[in-house]
Symmetry: D2
C-alpha cells in the first residue's frame, strides 16, 4: 500500500494536534512535518502528552514552501488571513492544499472581505472546492485545493440540505440556534476560555447576525435552494470540551408528516457512513459523537405550530475540522473515504 | 419585627432544600417544619451538609394538615398531582399556600388535564394566583394561594412580556430555545441525571411542542397579547448544576431599532430590582445569576432578517422556584419584596 | 485470520459497554452475545447511542451457560457475588472466563469473605490467575480463567511494583491517595452519582482502610515484597467521567537519587507498550490516558523529607477494567498483546 | 453604626472581585476604591457581570498611597513582590494593611528569599501578623498589618493544629495531599488554566517539596509543635472552580481512639463559628463550603496502619483568601467576627 506524505502547517493548536492524532494512525499517510513557530524544536509529545510514545516528532519552524517540499498534501491549520499567504506560497509548489481556515470557503470575494479582511489571493479562490463531502463529493474528487468547512456550517448544512433541496420548508423562516464546546475557541489563552469563566456558565455570543459563519451557512443553503437564503444564526458557548449541537427551526412549506420528513433524511443520506439519522422520537446528544467524524441528526415536528425542528450534532474538532479534512484527503487521493476515521465514540 | 411561621411540605428535593436555605436566613420567617417521607427523623444537615451548623432541624413525616397547623404559610415543594391533594387538605385550614408544583398554574382545567393528569381540586383552582411578581404583582398582593411559576416559563415570560405587550413582534413567529441545568430534573436518581451521562454532553429533549411548560408559556403570553399565542419551545439539558438560558426569536411587527427595543425593556422593568437589562451589545450568562433571584435580559436585533433575539438567564432553583416563592411570600405578607433575596452571585 | 467468539455476561453497565466497544473493533474477535436482564430485547445502540451504526445487536436475557454456549471466551461484567455463580456455571462448560468483578482476585478466601461476602466457588478460586499483564504475564499465558484486577489496584500496583521489588522504599511507610472519576461507580442510579452532587464537588470516601480494594493492593505488593505489606489507602471522588490518579508516598529505604529511581522505572517497564514513564520533572494527567489502555507514571523525590512520590494515571474503564480484560484475552489466545487497544487518547 | 472606609489595591483578579463582593454587602464597610491598571475606567460590573446593579464603581488606576488616602484599611490583592512595594508605600500613610499576597507570611526573611524572591521591605516584616484567626486571634487583635494566609496553608493548619498541639501524632510523619480548584491560579490567561486543559483532567504539580506554600505550612506547624516540623506536601489541580480539599496523613504518637481524636477536634474548635467538625464516619466535600468562610474537617483512623487521616475543605477564594481577609478586618476593627460572612453554601 503506497503511502502519501502529509505535512501540517500550524500544528500546535487544538485542530492541528487533532489532525496529528488522526494522520499518525492513518494507514496510508506518513506525517512528515508539523510546524509551529511557538513550539519549534519541542517534541509534540511534550506539548500534548497524549502523543507520548506515539511519535518522536518535534515541531519545526519552517516556511510554508519548506513544509510543502516533500509533502504530497499540506494541511493549513492556521488563523484566517495567515492561511491565505501560506496557501499562496504552497500553490506555487503545485502541492495539494487542504485549508482549515475560513480563507477560501466563501466563493464571493466581496462577501469574504465584508465579514473577514482583505483577500490577497483572489486568483487562488476559484481553485478551491468547498469540502463538505456528503454534499459536494463530486467536486471534491478532482480538486487540488480544498476549503475545509467551518464547524458550525458543517453541523447546519448537513441538517438543512435535505429539506431545503426538497423544498419542504420556507427558506425565509430559518432560525438556527447552535451551541459549541470551548475547543472551538482554540488554544490561545484568553480570559473568555478559562475554566472558571466557562464551567457552570452558558451564554449566547455574536447574536443578531454577527458571527462570521453566517455567510458560509447562507452560501451553502443558497446552492441547495437555488435562490438566496438568509438565516438567523445564534452561537452559544457550552461548558464542554468538544461538540456542536445545532437546533434548527423552519416553517413547513407544505403539509408533510414527521414520517415523511424522516424518510427524506434517510433517503438523502442512505449511502453515507458519517451521517446517522436518529429514529423518530429520539434526538442526538453531542456525547455520542465525541472523537468521531459523525454527524448525528434527529427531527421533531411541532404540529401545533407547523414548524420542523432539526437537531444535529458533531464533534467540532473532527467532523467540524480535522476529521473532515482527513476525509477530504481520502477522497482526493482515492483512498477509502472512511480510512483512519472509523472510531467509535468513547462513552461516558 | 414580628415573624411569621413557615413550613415546607416536601423539603428534601433540590427545590425544597433551596427554600430551606432562603427561609433560614430570612429575617422575618421562622421555619417551623420541613417534611420528607424518605428522610423522616434525619437531620437536614445530614442530607445537605451545607446546612451543618445552620440548623438542627430534622425532616418530619407528617400530613399536610399537621404541617400546616402552626404555620402562617405552607410551601408545597412536591411533584405535580401529589401537590393537588396536599393543597386540598391545607386549604381547609385556611392557611396560605405557595405551591411550587404545576398543579395550579394553568387556569384552564382542560388544558391542565390534557398536558398533565386528572385535576381533583378544580374548585381550588380559581383561588390560585399565578405568582410571577414582575408581571402580576397586583393580583398577588391579595392572594391566599399562589401558583409559583415554572422555571422555563419564568425565564421566557419575563423576556417576552414587554415586546408582546407593546406589539413589537409578530406573535405567531415565536420560537424559544431554552437550556437548563440538571438540578431542574430534581434529586430523584435516574440514569439521565447521572454525572457521566450529562458531563461533556448536550441534547434537546421533548422537542416539537411536547414539554409541559408549553401551555404555561402560552397562557402567560396570551394575557399580554390579548389574543391566543402559540410558541415553538425546545428545552435542552445543559451540563451545569443551575441556570436556565432562554434564547427567544421573533419577527418584528414593525420597523424599530435595537435602541428602541432596548428602551422598551428598560422602561418596562425600570422599577424592578430582580430584572437586569444588559447594555446593548452585551448578553447574559447564567453564571452571573447563579444563587440569585435575578433575571438577566439582553437583546440583539438581526437587521438582515428583521428578527429580534432576546436572551434571558435565571437560576432555575431561585428565580425559577424557591426564590420566587419567597418573593411571593414577601408580597403577600407585605414584607419588603427583596427581603432575604438580595445576595450577589458568587463568581466564578 | 481465525477469529474467536466472545460473549459478555452483564453488558449494559459502563464496563460492559466499554468492552463491547473494544471487542467490536477487535480484528480477531466476533462478539456473539451481550446479555442484560434489564435491557433484554433492546438494541445496544438504543441504550448507548455511540454504538448506533456500529452494531445491530440486541441485549439478550440468557443464563450464563447459554451465553457461554458458542463462545470461546466469556467476559463477566457483573457485580461481585453475582459473578461467582456465573463463573461456576461457565466453568462447567470448559470455556475461558475473564471475570471483571472482585470475586476471584483475592487468593485467600478468608480475606475475601472478610471484605466482601461468602464465597460459594472456593474450588474455582485456585484456577483463576490475577490478570495484571505487566506484572504477571507468564502466569496469564496459560490461564483458563482470569481475575481481572480492580481499577485502583491496577493504578497502584503498576506504580509501586518496581520500587517494592527493588527494595528502594520502606514497605511500612506506604500511603496511597487515589482519586477516581464517577464512571467507577457504575451506571446504577444513586443520589451520590448524580451530576449535581458531583460536579463542582470533591470528597474522600471510605477513608481509614475501609475500601475493599485495600486487600487486593496489599496482596499484590506482598508478592513483590516477599513479606506482608500493609498500606493506608484513601479513595476520593473526582468530578470527571473517567480516570484514576494515584499519588503514592513512601519513605526511601536507602540513599538514592531521583535519577536512579527514574532509571529503575524505565528498566522495569522497558518492554511494555502500555506503561509510559514520564521524564523527570513531568507528571501525568488523567486526560492524557482517557480512552486508552495506558498507565502513565511520573515520579518526584522530596529530598527534604526523603520521601518518594509516585503519580500514576489510568482510565478506570480501560486499563482499569475492559481494556485490561481485552489485553488478557489477547495474551491467553496468543494474539498480539496490544491488538485492538492501540488508540491514542483524544485531547482535549 | 459607624462605617469604615476600605480600599482594594489590585481588585480585578478573582480574589479582588471576591473581596469586592464581600465588602459591598458588609454592613460596616464603605468600599471606596478598587484599583486595576488593566481595567482602569471600566465599571466593575462590566468585568464581572455578577456585580451589575450592585455597584456603579469603576476600577481606578492609582498609586498605592493614593488608594490609601481616604481609606481606613487597604487590602492588597496583588502578586507577591508587587505587594511588598505597595505595602511599603501604604505603611508610610499609617493605614491598616491586609495583604493577601505571600510577601509577609514568612517571618524569616531568608526562608522567604529562598522560596520567593528578594524582600525589599524587611523592616516591615516584623510588623505583620499572620492572620489565621482560629489559631492566632489574640495577636491579630492589636495588629496594624495582617499577612493573610495562603489557601493551602489555611486548609492544612486548621486540620493539623489540634493534633500537633496535643502531640497526638508523630510530627515527622506528616504527608499532605491537597487538591485545589482552578480559581487558585488566578484570572491571568494561561494555557494551563483553559477550560479544555482542565475539564476532565486531574494532575499533581510541584510534587517533591517544590510548592511555595510548603514553608508557610511548616512555619505554622512548628509554632504548635514547639520544634521544627517538615512535611511532604503535594498539590493537585481539580476541575472545579472553587475549593481545596486537603487529605493529611500522620502516624499516631500514642494509642488513641478515633473518638478521642474526634473529641480533641471538637474541643479545640468549640467556640469557632467558621470550623465545622464532621461526625465520626462522615467526611467533608468541597461543595458544602463553596462561597462560605467555613473550614469543614472530618477524621478517620486507619487502625490497621495506625495512621490518622484528616480531611479538610475550604473555599480557596473565601476562607482561603478574601473571606479570611474580611474576618481579619472584622477582628482588627472590633466588629463581630462573622459580620458579612455568614452565608450558607449554595447547593447544588
Amino acid at each position: 500500500m503506497a503511502k502519501i506524505n502529509a505535512a501540517i502547517f500550524g500544528a500546535s493548536g487544538y485542530t492541528g494536534q487533532e489532525l496529528v492524532r488522526i494522520l499518525l494512525s492513518h494507514p496510508q499517510v506518513n506525517l512528515i512535518a508539523a510546524s509551529s513557530r511557538r513550539y519549534a524544536g519541542v517534541p509534540l509529545a511534550k506539548v500534548y502528552p497524549s502523543l507520548l510514545g506515539k511519535t518522536d516528532m518535534e515541531f519545526i519552524n519552517a516556511t510554508a514552501s519548506e513544509v510543502a517540499k516533500s509533502a504530497d498534501v499540506v494541511f493549513l491549520a492556521l488563523p484566517h488571513q495567515v492561511s491565505q499567504n501560506a496557501a499562496g506560497e504552497i500553490a506555487l509548489t503545485g502541492k495539494r492544499i487542504i485549508d482549515l481556515s475560513a480563507d477560501f470557503r466563501l466563493a464571493d470575494v466581496k462577501t469574504y472581505e465584508e465579514w473577514y479582511t482583505k483577500h490577497t489571493q483572489q486568483d487562488l479562490l476559484k481553485k478551491f472546492v468547498y469540502g463538505l463531502p456528503e454534499l459536494f463529493r463530486e467536486e471534491i474528487k478532482g480538486a487540488q485545493m480544498i476549503a475545509n468547512p467551518g464547524c458550525y456550517p458543517t453541523s447546519i448544512l448537513l441538517a438543512l440540505a435535505p429539506v431545503v433541496k426538497m423544498a419542504l420548508i420556507k427558506n425565509d423562516s430559518l432560525i438556527i440556534n447552535s451551541c459549541s464546546g470551548v475547543s472551538g475557541a482554540g488554544r490561545e489563552p484568553s480570559v473568555g476560555s478559562l475554566f472558571c469563566e466557562v464551567a457552570q456558565g452558558f451564554k449566547a455570543y455574536k447574536a443578531g447576525g454577527k458571527h462570521r459563519h453566517t455567510p458560509e451557512i447562507e452560501q451553502g443553503l443558497t446552492r441547495f435552494a437555488g435562490a438566496p437564503v438568509k438565516v438567523t444564526f445564534t452561537p452559544h458557548l457550552l461548558p464542554v470540551n468538544r461538540g456542536i449541537l445545532s437546533t434548527s427551526y423552519a416553517s413547513l412549506a407544505k403539509k408533510v408528516t414527521a414520517a415523511e420528513i424522516h424518510a427524506c433524511f434517510q433517503d438523502f443520506y442512505c449511502s453515507e457512513n458519517f451521517v446517522r439519522i436518529y429514529p423518530l422520537g429520539e434526538l442526538p446528544n453531542i456525547n455520542a459523537v465525541t472523537g468521531t467524524n459523525l454527524c448525528d441528526i434527529g427531527i421533531a415536528l411541532d404540529e401545533r405550530t407547523e414548524r420542523l425542528i432539526i437537531v444535529s450534532a458533531i464533534d467540532n474538532l473532527v467532523k467540524g475540522a480535522a476529521g473532515q479534512a482527513a476525509q477530504n484527503m481520502n477522497i482526493i487521493f482515492d483512498f477509502p473515504e472512511g480510512q483512519g476515521l472509523e472510531t467509535t465514540s468513547i462513552f461516558p
